[in-house]
């Protein structure tokens, strides 16, 4: 019995490891990383066997493995980031990640189902890269979507998505800045917590 459960745990671990291996090739370039994100999400969205909650969970897992939320949160908070303690930064990044995942999951579930992505260009400067793609299909014929990536710990991670010229990271920065300016950082956190629940 103990051997059976040990073998089962081993198989599960092997499965998880192989999933991780497939999801994160060691030397994947910017375009490959975007391909993992877009292709992975599209496959989940188009899988008719999945229930809605399962589909959402899988998309969130893919987003989790592709985006660098710490870098995004730091950029979104601007100069206020410097004043935060490590614990406050962790809290902020956690809330930001949750907000982003909710919003982006909704977006990709809506947009990637009946559209196809084609790659337009890729450019790399040092540890930064930009991958431009075009979404086609649906009610809107063509929608340019760009991905901004940064290399961290020898791996490319997405730090921004630019949809039809509108940077999501820049949008968050503008909102956070206005709330913190007109009210306070505490108000910003309260509203983030409310939205993340």
């Amino acid at each position: 019995m103990a051997m059976k459960s040990g073998a089962f745990v081993g198989l599960v671990m092997l499965g998880l490891l192989s999933d991780l291996w497939l999801a994160m090739p060691a030397d994947a370039g910017p375009r490959e990383r975007v391909g993992e994100l877009v292709g992975g999400v599209a496959a989940v969205v188009r899988d008719p066997a999945l229930q809605n909650t399962e589909r959402q969970a899988r998309v969130r897992a893919i987003i989790d493995g592709t985006f660098d939320f710490e870098a995004m949160g730091q950029q979104a908070l601007g100069t206020r980031w410097q004043a935060l303690t490590p614990a406050q930064r962790d809290e902020f990044v956690g809330l930001f990640a949750e907000l982003f995942k909710r919003s982006y999951t909704r977006l990709v579930l809506r947009f990637l189902g009946d559209r196809r992505t084609t790659y337009v260009t890729e450019s790399t400067t040092g540890n930064r890269a930009a991958v431009e793609t075009m979404l086609a299909g649906g009610k809107e014929e063509r929608l340019p979507v760009g991905y901004r990536l940064a290399r961290k710990h020898e791996q490319w991670q997405v730090v921004d998505v630019v949809i039809d010229g509108v940077s999501l990271a820049e949008g968050y920065r503008a909102q956070f800045e206005r709330i913190a300016r007109n009210s306070s950082y505490e108000t910003l956190l309260r509203r983030m917590r409310g939205k993340a629940q």
Partner: protein, 306 residues
């Protein structure tokens, strides 16, 4: 009949001049320092095209004006985008934004939902195609004014193809044949010519604007051929129909956008300003590619992602 047509032209001009005047009056205090609307600090520099090198984030709060309204201004420059959010009339704009949001929530969205249920996607797309095809003169004139000769030829080709083979513009044959639209407007032309956006401006029943884009919007309405042949009421009806159709095409997109924001006002303002900046940068880039450069390169307008 001739007299009626003349009256119609006169009315169109008066409406356009009135809109331009409202915008100009709205813009005037910033320049003249009229009571209630304090001149924005550093307004001179903000009317220049965004520079690519300024990557500062600075927030200043101007003192309260005689009306008691404090004017706030936020200048934010992204790492490589140098986006300026110049909003000295934020309080007024926010009230107008809330009004427009209510109009959208209680009128436009329900009507658009009904329209979306009744009208198939293909018909919505065809209607959009027809209106887009009819708005060709605006794009043609602005392509020419920006020196985008290739874009102007493309617009003419698209119009001829879509009007004939595309059955009066119902079908966008040109795009399928590899002739994409060269979308542009007068606000973008003014931007390419070097006019800065000026203050952000929200007016009732209108999409978000800047002062520059508001002037462009008024001029563009004169370039709309439907306004020459249709009576005023029908023209307004067409505009409303276009808004409803556009809203129905983007129902889910708006919902997603709203659900994902903490502060809708700043999210919309930022998205609008980002899109306009990108459009003007692209227009400036196309102009350089398609026409001899009549004046020295403007480094501010040439910043592109590496």
């Amino acid at each position: 009949m001739v007299r009626g047509r003349k009256d119609m032209w006169l009315r169109e001009w008066l409406v356009a001049v009135a809109v331009a005047a409202v915008i100009a009056v709205g813009a005037a205090p910033a320049a003249s320092g009229a009571p209630g609307l304090e001149p924005p600090p550093g307004s001179d520099s903000q009317l220049e095209a965004s520079g690519a090198d300024g990557s500062e984030v600075a927030t200043t709060a101007a003192p309260a004006g005689p009306s008691g309204e404090s004017q706030t201004e936020t200048r934010a420059a992204a790492e490589d985008g140098a986006l300026e959010e110049h909003d000295p009339w934020e309080r007024f704009n926010e009230r107008m934004f809330e009004f427009n949001r209510r109009v959208d929530r209680y009128v436009l969205k329900p009507v658009a939902k009904g329209w979306d249920k009744v009208v198939p996607d293909e018909v919505q797309r065809s209607l959009k195609n027809v209106l887009k095809n009819a708005a060709m003169p605006k794009r043609l004139v602005n392509n020419l004014l920006q020196g985008k000769f290739e874009g102007a030829v493309r617009e003419l080709s698209r119009f001829m193809l879509n009007t004939t083979v595309g059955v009066g513009g119902l079908f966008d044959i040109a795009t399928h044949e590899g002739i994409p639209e060269s979308a542009t407007d007068t606000g973008q032309t003014l931007g390419v010519w070097g006019a800065g956006p000026g203050p952000y401006l929200v007016l009732p029943f209108l999409p978000p604007l800047t002062v520059r884009d508001g002037i462009g919007f008024a001029i563009d309405s004169l370039l709309d051929p439907i306004s020459y042949v249709a009576p005023f009421a029908a023209n307004v009806g067409t505009s409303v129909g276009e808004r409803v159709n556009e809203r129905s095409v983007n129902l889910e997109t708006f919902d997603d956008f709203e659900a994902g924001t903490l502060d809708l006002y700043s999210a919309v303002r930022n998205a609008y300003l980002q899109r306009r900046q990108k459009a003007i940068q692209e227009d400036a880039g196309s102009r350089r590619e398609g026409w001899p450069q009549p004046w020295p390169e403007d480094s501010a307008a040439t910043s592109e992602a590496p």
